[in-house]
């Protein structure tokens, strides 16, 4: 058994078998896994906000979908992944509170998912699995050996995508 590498909000890290990588309690943030199925190397980033260019204080690049995914890709490539093999699995972006208003501040989950998809499209990395939106938190674990992303939510049976 390998160890479980944990990343927190606005952090990114890389991982190779037999280790696995996890982030706990994703809410409106999005967890992005980039993976090379041939080389079995991967990385995960926990992004909180869609766009670094909209925020003045943007030194922490892993916090934003645009810069975080770019940095993650570079890290995974450094680890030996081939650019053309890269695939993505994404989870998160829930709307934690059932707001009736369309207050922009409260729809950040949707916007994070949208920004993540746009960035991946721009980098030409296909999304092969996703579990986004809805209204519950998720703990996610990625196993580079099998390429499976395990998702756990409160009151639900864990499932793999």
């Amino acid at each position: 058994m390998g160890k479980m590498i944990k990343i927190g909000m606005a952090e990114l890290n890389i991982c190779t078998p037999p280790d696995a990588i996890t982030t706990l309690g994703l809410g409106s943030c999005v967890g992005v896994v980039l993976y090379d199925p041939a080389k079995k190397v991967c990385g995960m980033v926990h992004v909180m906000l869609p766009d670094s260019t909209k925020i003045k204080n943007n030194t922490n690049r892993a916090k934003f979908a645009d810069t975080g995914i770019e940095d993650l890709m570079n890290e995974v490539l450094k680890l030996g992944a081939a650019r053309r093999n890269l695939v993505a699995k994404i989870a998160g972006g829930a709307q934690m509170f059932a707001f009736k208003s369309d207050n922009d501040m409260l729809r950040v989950g949707d916007r994070n998912v949208e920004a993540t998809k746009n960035k991946l499209k721009q980098l030409q990395i296909p999304i092969i699995a996703e579990d986004t939106g809805k209204n519950s938190g998720r703990t996610i674990e990625f196993y580079p050996e099998s390429g499976e992303l395990l998702i756990k939510s409160v009151g639900k049976t864990p499932y793999k995508i």
Partner: protein
């Protein structure tokens, strides 16, 4: 205030004092509802990395009840009250005079009751902030969610995240004893401008 991350010691003390008075009022409201004495601990105000927010309530995967209100008028932002799920069940049990099975999910009546408790507690807190600062604060209806602490706290963390990598947490614990704890934690998340407004109105801008 030019930078959300820089808070001097005096401003910090003031924020803690607001936390103190606010949670005192909230505990009084709660004591009236329950018709019993409630002790409050001295609140802690901490400026921590938003990563550490879930740790303060027992870790990312701890199940908590989060009640969120959005603020408008002179102070804009959010206010959140968080209770561990055990504390929420204890509180409900006391209010509804029944023992509540902690393995059962909450029914609609219980959810609505918790939401109202959250409303009263946060209302007491906000009115003391409003009194102290003489600022008008409008709160939305309360929104409630029961989920992992990490997921619930991602909502305020994202708001803080727009300003910097730190979050201001006023931890106000109250309860009768540790076993039958019925307390919670407050997070006040003013926008950067409103934060300045609070400080300025207290004469320490």
């Amino acid at each position: 205030m030019t930078d959300g991350q820089i808070i001097n010691e005096m401003q910090f003390d003031v924020l803690r004092e607001i936390g103190n008075i606010g949670s005192g009022n909230a505990a009084t409201a709660l004591a009236k509802m329950l018709n019993q004495k409630i002790d409050i601990k001295v609140p802690k105000a901490a400026l921590c990395d938003f990563n550490q927010l879930p740790q303060a309530v027992g870790g990312e995967e701890t199940i908590v009840v989060g009640i969120l209100l959005t603020l408008s008028d002179d102070v804009e932002g959010m206010m959140m009250f968080i209770m561990k799920v055990d504390a929420a069940y204890n509180l409900l049990g006391k209010l509804m005079f029944t023992e509540i099975d902690k393995n059962e999910p909450l029914n609609e009546m219980q959810m609505s009751c918790l939401q109202e408790i959250g409303n009263i507690i946060t209302g007491a807190y906000l009115s003391s902030l409003s009194d102290l600062t003489r600022l008008t604060i409008q709160a939305s209806v309360p929104y409630m969610a029961l989920d992992m602490a990490g997921a619930i706290l991602s909502v305020p963390a994202i708001e803080f995240g727009k300003l910097g990598d730190k979050a201001l947490m006023i931890e106000a614990e109250f309860g009768e004893d540790t076993e039958n704890e019925i307390g919670g934690y407050f997070l006040l998340i003013p926008t950067l401008e409103s934060y300045g407004a609070i400080m300025a109105s207290l004469g320490i801008g």
